[in-house]
Amino acid sequence: MSMYRQLWLAIILSMLLALAGSLFASLLSARAYLEQQLSMKNADNASALALSLSQQSPDPVTAELVVAALFDSGHYESIRIHDPNGKLMIERVAPAGDSGAPEWFVRRVPIHAEPGEARVTSGWQQFGTVILVSHSRFAYQALWNSTREMIVALALASFVGGYLGSLILRRLRRPLQAVIDQAEAITEHRFITIPEPNVPELRRLAIAMNVTVTRLKAMFEEQAARLEAVRREANFDPVTGLANRDFLIARLRSSLEGEHATGGILFLIHVADLMDINKRLGREATDDMLRRVAQTITRNGLPRGGVDAEADEENLAGRMNGADFALLLTGQNARREVAEPLLQALISTLAPFVDGGSPVYIGMGVFKQGTALRTVLSQVDAAMIAAETEGANAVREAVIDTDDDIPRSADEWSRSIRQALDRRWLCLVSFPVVDLQGRLLHAECPLRLRLEAEGEWLPAGRFLPLAERLGLSAELDLAALELGLAELVRQPALKGLAINMSASSIVTADFLQKLEARLSKQREAAARLWIEVAESGALRNIDAFRRLCKLLASYRCKVGVEHFGPQFSQIGAVHDLGLDYIKVDASFVRRLDTHPGNQAFLKGVGAIAHGIGLLVIAEGVTSDAEFAALGEIGFDGATGPGVKVAGIA
């Protein structure tokens, strides 16, 4: 039985006991008092009658008259006179009548009054003994009335008591509920702290839980910090702090391949005569110079505060090798105009270190999604060499791809996307996400869109960034959700289906309501739905993401973060979200079997994630070797071009 109900029962029972007890006690004491009074009356009346009879030296007739007179004019039940030998001489008995109180009451609470006895003498002769019993009707009436009044009064008191009890219970209920909610949240891997209640017992409990949660958080943060160090070491150049070659290539690859590839611009920057500078200025000064170069590239090359902050984070500055730096700008925001100012800034940075000549060359190339990596690298490299051979500080651009049959202006894009939405020129493509035994965990289904009736299906990377800038991403995400739910309904055996949502959708005003409206219509399918948001978007809009997680949890959808890893140091923020899984970014998974640094990093990520109760899935797995490496570091699943469902060719 619920604790509150038990408490209520206890309160009610104890009050009933107290009231019944007091009612009983007062009833008994009232009865005792009435009995006493009646007995005294009996004794006194008997004495008075005996005295008055004795004065008259009575004979039986006189005695009978006196008895009759007294009986008829008084409140008596019986008056008897026995002769000295005990024989009954005179008797008057009242007829049985209304006893003034209900029959059952008279039976349950009888009033026994002692009959009064007194001696009657006639001169010196013993005449007899008077035995007199007063009528107890009035006593019963008084008792019954007082009992009734007492019941009413006690019932009132009990109502007041009950009301006070309920107030107290209510005051207790709130802090207790808060503690219970916290405990439940912890089981759902949401580590929240609550304010300490006033009640001492609950306060101790809340303090203990809060301390535990804080310690857990601190532990995670500590682990996270350590792992962050591992990550930096694995993926970043120690001297300049820029991304190392592997990481940059991986990032370049992800903007070329896959559904969410957006294309971009690659700049290769060459610092001339590095060996000379090294010989002339020494190691330390050279390192210092390189650091300044890195700073300049970062400051001037990476755009900040742009409209599309999510795409900005995909930009990367890196150091390819000793003298070569790279700048990767992804997405539609990439502007080739960055090159010239960057060149000038670099020249002025390097001025103190070189003695004339042209110290820096830049080669750049704009590439679209779908181009081969080798092509991009070789073309941009060639451009850079061409710039170098020109002799002066220069920028050279490579020409990489040619197809250009996609509308360019924002208005045209807006119209096209809206048309696609209206005509439902949308579909989902399915990529399997498997566990390490090869069984299907869920199907990841990004959205594809076509701009004409029979046009080619454009992957998300081509239209989604634009849609976000045009404010249409919310509608696209909702459309994807509807398609996903329909597919789940169509395939009842499908274990799960994952839909991507962009950060700009979840911060849209009534997005959550519309989302809920669709989920509530398909509850059964909703329970097999997996929703994921990119790490950068989720962390940047953590409050909106928290609300999304709460909503999805109530429909039993699974929530996850994809492209996880670059902002790993913020893992502390995901504690109280109630996430179900994370998908680690492909850049960390690439060639995992040959990358011990990333292996260590991902192993740590897996441990932490499992500690919070998250599934850990790797993105962008391309080879069996990578798959095997995932098994060794304890991941739960993988997806990517090299992943197939076991048993299906």
Binding site: A43, S47, P84, A118, R119, G123, W124, Q126
Partner: protein
């Protein structure tokens, strides 16, 4: 219980002992039996209370009273009356309540009467009542009676309120009057100076809350004077 045992022993013993001592043993046992009947009065306790309240002086009277009672127990009913009446009349002084107790009206228990060595007419009647009860006379034969007494005074006869003890051999008989005004016991017809008003004894007295057998728990204010006396005597060890 012990009473029954003693009676049984008294019955058996003559047959267990040799001839010459039989009579002596008998008498001793009968006396002992009588003494056991006088167990209605707790003499050791009385003596203790007497010493505490009144000092050493009345102890002799108490012991004499005890002997008198034992003596009376063994006698016939008429003799009981005479022995008790004579003893009390001789050994107890007649004084009024005001001089003894400093109260206009006070009914003394037997202990108090013995302790003071004196009492008024009610006290005489009361102590005789208890004595006769202890000596073995059934209560149904005893009555305390309020009477109007006509006394001879220097200025002529006058009337006075008085109390006597009356003994009824049978319920319908003429009673014998035990009085302190007239030392010998006379039948009521021979006591024309007394006019009875009201009579009572302790048989049919409601003793307050709790019924007949227990003490009144409602406080002395709820007890009549007679009930109060009965309770006080009981508490002193005189049933």
């Amino acid at each position: 219980m012990a009473l029954m045992l003693a009676q049984y022993m008294a019955y058996l013993s003559p047959f267990l002992l040799p001839e010459p001592s039989r009579r002596r043993v008998l008498r001793g046992l009968v006396l002992g039996l009588a003494a056991s009947v006088v167990w209605a009065i707790d003499f050791p306790r009385l003596e203790q209370l007497l010493l505490a309240r009144f000092g050493q002086a009345p102890v002799a009277l108490l012991r004499d009273w005890q002997r008198n009672l034992a003596d009376a127990s063994a006698a016939s009913e008429k003799d009981k009356l005479r022995k008790v009446n004579d003893f009390i009349n001789r050994r107890v002084r007649f004084e009024d309540d005001l001089s003894i107790w400093n109260q206009s009206e006070y009914w003394a228990t037997p202990l108090e009467t013995i302790g003071q060595g004196g009492g008024d007419c009610e006290d005489f009647a009361i102590i005789k009542y208890y004595s006769l009860k202890a000596a073995g006379i059934p209560l149904s034969r005893l009555r305390l009676v309020y009477v109007r007494a006509r006394l001879e005074g220097p200025a002529g006869p006058y009337l006075q309120a008085h109390m006597v003890l009356a003994y009824y051999a049978t319920p319908n008989a003429e009673p014998l009057v035990l009085d302190n005004l007239v030392p010998e016991i006379r039948p009521a017809s021979q006591r024309s100076d007394l006019q009875p008003v009201f009579s009572f004894n302790s048989e049919a007295v409601w003793s307050g809350v709790g019924g007949k057998a227990t003490k009144g728990a409602g406080g002395t204010s709820q007890l009549s004077r007679w009930q109060d006396l009965l309770n006080r005597a009981r508490s002193e060890g005189v049933e």
